[in-house]
Each structure stands twice: as C-alpha cells, then as structure tokens.
C-alpha cells in the first residue's frame, strides 16, 4: 500500500472538474444572491423576490409543477399497476418499459414542436376534433400556450418517469401480504387502503417530489412552446440572463437561488422517502 497522499492524487482531476464547473459556479450564484452590486452582504435581493411579478412567476411555476406531478403520478401509477397486477398480457411490459426509458428523456424543443403540431391551432387533434365531433377546443378556451397546455406537454416526460420508478416498487409488493390480508377477510379495497398503499406511500411521495423538481427546472420545452408569453420562473430567469429585464442583476441571483431551494427541497424529500421505501424492498 502506498501512502495516503498518493491515493488522493487519483481523484484530484474529478474534484477539480466538479469544483470548477459545478460547485463554484453554483456557489457564485448563491453568494451573489446575498450581495449588492458593491459586493457587500445584503438581504435586499431576497426581499426583492417579493415583487408581484416574481412571486406570480414562482406561483405559476409551482402550480404547473404540482399539476404535472400529480397527474403524472396518477396516470403513471395506473399504467404501471395495469402491467404489474392488472391481468394484461405479459409481453406488454417490455415495450412499455423501453418506451418509458426513451420518453422520460425526451424533453426540450422537439417536444414543444410535437405538441404544437398536435394540439396547436391547426394541429392534428385540434382539426380532427373539429371535423369529426364539431368540438372547437380553442373556442372553448383551450390554449396550448397556457397553464394547462404546458402541463399537458410536461406529462409526456412525467408519466414515463413515474412508470419507470414505481414499477419496481409495485413488483416489491409481496404476494404473501395480499394472501395474508385475504385470509384475514380483507376486501380488495381494504387490502389497498390498509396494506398496499401504506407500503407504497414513501415511494409515491418520493416520486412525486422528483417529478415536481423535474418540471420545475425545465426551460427548453416551455421556452419553445410559449416564447416568453407565460412568465414561469425558468423563463423569467432566462430572459434576465439574456438581458437585464428585472432592472437589477442581483435579483437574478436571488431568483436562481430560489430555484435551487425549491428543487433542492424536492430532491431532499425524494432521497428521504426512497430510504424509507427501501425498507420494504428486500
């Protein structure tokens, strides 16, 4: 064995890279959030977050993230439960998992184009609904460049992510637990309410947090879809970095700091919940 000092040298390149391109840039933003343009310590930037424009951007971002996480969890859970225990043919599972692996990573500009081509004003589904059923969704107040439009688009990567994460958890529900519940006279509803859901609860809550963070940080899809017409946090920050739209560069740091806090908390919740869920997964 060589001495300790030599051993450390092996990880120096990694730590240097991580420090230079991950940790220091982030620290710089976090510290900048607590500084005024003269470099003195201040809480004024954080107080500046309370301006109506920024508050409303955080509110709408959090709403979209919540909506797409809730719906993603529900629909993804239903689809995962269908293949794991729903009595559908086994061969469906492979393609569904493969597709989920692909689609959960398919976000960004092309995804926005796909939804414009489908649910935009002259998109396929919009036209078909009008021709076949006489339903004009745009006359009914639907707009792709809105809260529901964005939520609907985000679901395209949220649902597959839920399927990927929750399927192993559903596999972990042991047959014996169900049999034991049935022997004791439990109905299907009682089994779910008193056995399965409590066991799955940490997994569900953890995945929900992950989905939330996932859509909260998404920029490209929203930007390509709405330009800057919908003021969600990442788009406001994008505009702020491009040109000083907030009239105060340090307010930008505070916004970025706010984003880190939100996604950081959500990911922390995910980690804690996953640790709890693993108790049952042996």
């Amino acid at each position: 064995m060589r001495n300790i000092g030599w051993n450390w040298l092996g990880v120096v390149p990694f730590f240097a890279f991580a420090a230079l391109f991950l940790v220091l840039p982030t620290m710089n933003i976090v510290i900048g959030a607590f500084q005024n343009p003269q470099g003195e310590f201040t809480l004024a930037n954080l107080a500046g977050l309370a301006s109506p424009r920024i508050v409303s951007s955080f509110v709408i971002s959090i709403k979209i993230s919540l909506a797409s996480a809730v719906l993603g969890c529900l629909i993804g859970f239903a689809m995962a439960a269908a293949v794991v225990m729903g009595g559908v043919p086994r061969w469906i599972r492979g393609p569904l998992m493969t597709f989920s692996g692909v689609a959960s990573n398919f976000a960004g500009v092309p995804l926005a184009f796909a939804f414009i081509a489908t649910l935009g004003r002259v998109g396929l589904v919009t036209l078909l609904l009008r021709q076949w059923f006489g339903i004009n969704i745009y006359a009914m107040g639907f707009n792709l460049l809105s809260f529901w439009g964005l939520t609907l688009t985000y679901l395209f990567f949220q649902i597959p992510l839920m399927i990927l994460i929750i399927t192993p958890a559903l596999d972990g529900l042991k047959r014996e637990w169900r049999e034991a519940a049935e022997v004791l006279g439990a109905s299907t509803g009682q089994y779910w309410r008193m056995v399965a859901l409590p066991i799955l609860f940490p997994s569900l809550l953890g995945t929900f947090a992950l989905l939330f963070a996932n859509s909260f940080g998404a920029v490209a899809t929203a930007y390509a879809l709405t330009g800057s017409s919908l003021s969600i946090v990442p788009i406001m920050l994008f505009a702020q970095i491009r040109g000083d739209v907030l009239q105060d560069p340090h307010l930008g740091y505070a916004m970025a700091f706010g984003m880190i806090v939100v996604t950081g908390l959500a990911n922390l919740a995910y980690v804690i919940m996953r640790t709890r869920a693993e108790r049952w997964m042996r």
Partner: protein, 260 residues
C-alpha cells in the same frame, strides 16, 4: 373488472403518447397545399444552418463523451480500489446536476468565467466552446457515473488490478487496456444517453451563444410553420435511436441505468 380498468389505463395512456407522435409526422408532411409531401424535410435538410448546427452538436456530443469517460472511468475505478470511503461523496457530487437546474449552472458560468475574471473563457469563441463542453460533461455526469459505477460493480476490481500489476502493467495501461474494455457496455450506455442529451440541449448553448442544434431548432420554431415538425421528427429519430441502442446494450451487458 380489474382487467377492464387495466386495459382502459393502458389504452388511454398509449393514445396520449401516440397522438403527438402521429400529429408531428402528419404535420411535417402538410407543407404542400392539398397533398402530403416531404417538402418540409427537403427544406430543413437543404438549410446550411441545419447542417452547421447539427454537425456542431454532433462533434460536441462526441467530445462530451470522451471528456466524460476520461473523468469518470479513472475516478470510479480509483474510488472503488483505494478510497471506498469517498464513494458516497463522489456519488453525491455526481447527482448534483440533477438537483441544480442547468439554467442556474450556466448562469454561474457566465458570472465565473466572464471577460473580467481570472479565467476569461467567455471572451473567445474557442474558450466558450470549451466551457460549453465542460457544461455538457457536467450535465451528463450523473448518467455517465452511474453507468460506469454499475459496470464496475460486476468486476472484481482488486483482483484484476493485482493480476495486472504482477504482470508489470502501469496505471494508464490498467485503466486503458483492462478496466475500460471490461466496462465498455456500461460506458456505451452512458455515451448514448449523453449523446441524446447534448444533441437536443438548448439552455446552455443558447445562453452561451453557441451555434448548436437546440437553439437552431428553437429559432426555426419561432419563424416557420412546417419545418419545426420535420425537425422534431428528425430529433425524435436521433434521440430514440440513441436511447434504443442504449437499452439494447444495457440488456445485452446486464447493466441497468435508472432513468434519473
């Protein structure tokens, strides 16, 4: 009854996923009035900007993979061999890019490497390219590290190393000729995922003002009607080709990469 609901969930879900795909393909064929044609594809492929930005992103993706392998493989190997106590720390750091939004990281780059800083990377085009490359490697870090680490877990790193050392191999030789080939399947999985991420990446390239494929797509989307759909189909094909190959490889080599 249970089966009915299962089918209902699957069919409704599948419809939701299929309709945008069908819609995009259909829309991309609609450019010529009254009939389907490949005009939109022709228009996109003939655009010199398409070729320039696409090849720029392909080159960046390949460099990202090379940089990622260079950083991740020796580190993951070394930590397993000599510094096992450091593993949680490294793992935590590699997961950070999933926690910190890319837009925040690139904001930090612009601050940290601006023209008046010690390391003025954003001052020149090649410097900014290098910065973007490092940014991409950072974004790919979680996937690359987990893929390689999973690959390493199937090896007896210690015995392999001792055997190689007793035969007189040095560190470069051990990593390049012994470890790397043994985790090739895992590395390839990570590489395809990195490739897919870099090709479509928008935020970093746009904010660093580099002529990459992502910002080009966005710009075209803002100015044209049918070409974006054709572009989306092309991007779909590239991403899905990469991901499909990755899934195939991970099944072949028996390594699993979690989605996030």
């Amino acid at each position: 009854m249970k089966r009915f609901w299962s089918w209902a969930a699957l069919i409704v879900g599948s419809l939701y996923f299929l309709l945008p795909l069908i819609g995009t393909v259909e829309f991309s064929l609609r450019m010529r009035r009254g009939e389907y044609s490949l005009d939109a594809y022709r228009s996109v492929l003939a655009d010199p900007n398409f070729r320039a930005t696409f090849s720029y992103s392909v080159v960046m993706a390949l460099l990202t993979i090379a940089l990622g392998v260079l950083i991740v493989v020796p580190t993951a190997y070394w930590v397993r061999l000599r510094l096992p106590r450091l593993r949680p720390v490294i793992e935590f750091i590699t997961l950070l890019p999933l926690v910190i939004p890319a837009i925040v990281i690139v904001f930090g780059y612009i601050r940290l490497f601006n023209t008046s800083s010690i390391l003025p990377l954003t001052g020149t085009a090649s410097g900014t390219n290098l910065l973007l490359l490092c940014g991409y490697a950072t974004l790919a870090l979680p996937y690359m590290y987990r893929a390689v680490d999973t690959g390493l877990s199937t090896l007896d790193v210690r015995s392999l190393t001792e055997a190689a050392q007793s035969l007189g191999a040095g560190w470069v030789r051990i990593i390049g000729r012994l470890i790397l080939p043994n985790v090739m399947g895992a590395v390839m999985s990570g590489a395809f995922l990195s490739f897919a991420i870099v090709i479509g990446e928008f935020t970093m390239a746009a904010l660093l003002n580099r002529p990459a494929f992502g910002p080009y797509m966005q710009l075209l989307g803002a100015n044209r009607a049918y070409e974006p759909a054709a572009l989306a189909v092309i991007a779909f094909a590239v991403t899905w080709g990469c991901m499909g190959l990755m899934q195939l490889l991970s099944r072949l080599f028996g390594t699993r990469i979690p989605a996030k």
